[in-house]
Symmetry: C2
Subunit: 329 residues, 2 copies
């Protein structure tokens, strides 16, 4: 059977993996065109530039299968060359500290996505785990302006509700949730309520739906059919043009990494994130999405719940590509 | 006439100067025992350690007139040796970024005071210039615990009201405003309302009253008598043991430094702070407090409005010394 993705643009809006040849090949062979890779969570400026250095080595080492994408044309060319396109993103604003001038420096190194916050409050705004969300701060307003000017994607994943609304309203360009689900699907601090989703869509933004177990109905036991029916409901609510996938897939990491994601350097105690039984391990992926190439299962699932193919491909990649083109060309 | 400060402990709770021999000698000859010096506003970790390096050079260069104080005994010994005691403080939490482990590293280098915020929101809490104050964040709670453990003074100057109340309540030790005035004296974003002042005192904290013109009634034209009557009113409200002086004196800087204090690296526009006419210059000091040795004028002013000498000396230094002893020994 020919891969139905062969002539389509398929984009995973966010993954956080300990990358190797096997993982790149799985995506490439699975027909995935591009993936945004997470460079950092808590890292400071210097540590972040070092992560970029490591990727420069990857682009040499794996030049037969991956290529660096800084704009939508790079994504298209990468597909033509039968390579997986890699886009850089930050899951926090820690790398810029309180220095607005660092944004352009990171942008010039190819960083195209930045979250304003990661669970906790930052200089820019409130995180989704905080009991009181400040909304966009004074610096946050200045940063949104600068990201608009540069063409860097404002990613509101892991932000608090007020910060989301403030940023959607203040930004002159559409914004995104690269990886999150609707709150109506599953009650999680990370998922997004109807009002915010509607505001996002009104301004032309995109949400990448997450496959991370804590964001899913019934967590690891989530059924593909439930996930696909959630997509139908969401499309009916905010429109077909505003929905994508951002799998939040985390592969090839030891368990200590999930605890580091939760605790960073901000506490000497242990924070278990959204684990209800204080697990220190990675949550188990649903059996229909254990690897990047399982995009095909979402494709099949959406067909099964009655979605037309042209709509499915908007969700699996075309919407991200349009959004990328609008934000960073 | 003998200097009335000769046998007394006189402490200026905060100054920000471009220090030189003349400035140290002015304080020493004026009978000042100790001063907290501001190391940084917006500086990151590395830049902050470099500031400490510079002070290590100062302690050699000026060893005949200054000495480094890391506890209250150091302050007393410094006076015995006829030297000015120098205590280190931060006017922001920028140096620790999101890394709680840095607190102990800075503490071990002698840093005894840290503000949670400087006008703007930080990882820890809300600033007094923000339109929405988050209160103490998740990281803010962790940092307050760690500062309590280490014995580092929590300085709420430049913080928002909710952050102040949260920190006063959450801290197991008394906290301070090293440099601010009551809001009843002058309406400024930097000044503190009655409720917060009462909470501060109830928990055993100290406010250092500021001589920075924007914190004073009639700004540069503030009369000594008005300042001293404010002290009487404040003492009646929160008690004699909770009032000190933190002059916020800024000497020997070019005008560009006041703009850097306001703008740091957080905006590409110009922020004028509390200057009502968008001045880019330092505000003019009131004529009775233009230099550190003008503490004598406050002493005379307080006598004139009828305060007893034993009370005056609590305000001019004894309260800070008691507080220092309680927090960092």
């Amino acid at each position: 059977m020919q891969n139905p993705f062969k002539n389509e643009i398929i984009i995973d809006g966010l993954q956080y993996c300990n990358w190797n040849r096997h993982l790149f090949e799985d995506l490439l062979n699975g027909g995935i065109t591009a993936v945004q890779v997470t460079l950092i969570y808590w890292e400071n400026t210097k540590e972040t530039f070092e992560k970029i250095n490591e990727w420069e080595k990857n682009f040499i080492k794996y030049k037969d299968i991956i290529s660096f994408a800084q704009n939508s044309n790079d994504v298209l060319n990468s597909k033509k060359n039968n390579k997986l396109a890699i886009l850089f993103g930050f899951q926090n604003s820690a790398p810029i500290g309180n220095d607005i001038y660092l944004l352009e420096k990171f942008f010039s190194k190819g960083v195209r996505f930045m979250q304003l916050t990661y669970n906790n409050q930052t200089f820019l705004g409130g995180g989704c785990f905080e009991s009181h969300d400040s909304g966009l701060s004074r610096f946050g307003h200045a940063v949104v302006e600068e990201m608009n000017r540069l063409g860097m994607v404002i990613d509101l994943s892991h932000a608090g509700k007020k910060t989301c609304i403030d940023a959607i309203n203040y930004s002159t360009k559409p914004v995104s949730f690269t990886h999150a689900n609707p709150l109506f699907f599953h009650n999680s601090k990370r998922n997004i309520d109807d009002l915010v989703l509607k505001n996002l869509a009104t301004k032309g933004g995109v949400i990448g739906l997450s496959l991370y177990p804590f964001h899913l109905k019934n967590n690891s036991k989530c059924k593909l059919e439930d996930f696909c029916n959630m997509i139908i409901k969401l499309v009916n609510m905010i429109g077909i043009d505003h929905v994508g996938i951002g799998s939040d897939l985390c592969k090839n990491w030891d368990d200590e990494v999930v605890m580091w994601m939760r605790n960073g350097k901000w506490t000497k105690k242990l924070d278990y994130g959204e684990s209800k039984n204080n697990s220190i391990s990675w949550p188990k992926q649903p059996n229909w999405f254990t690897k990047g190439s399982d995009f095909i299962n979402i494709y099949e699932g959406l067909k099964k719940v009655g979605m037309r193919e042209s709509e499915i491909f908007k969700i699996l990649g075309k919407n991200w590509l349009r959004f990328y083109k609008e934000i960073f060309g």
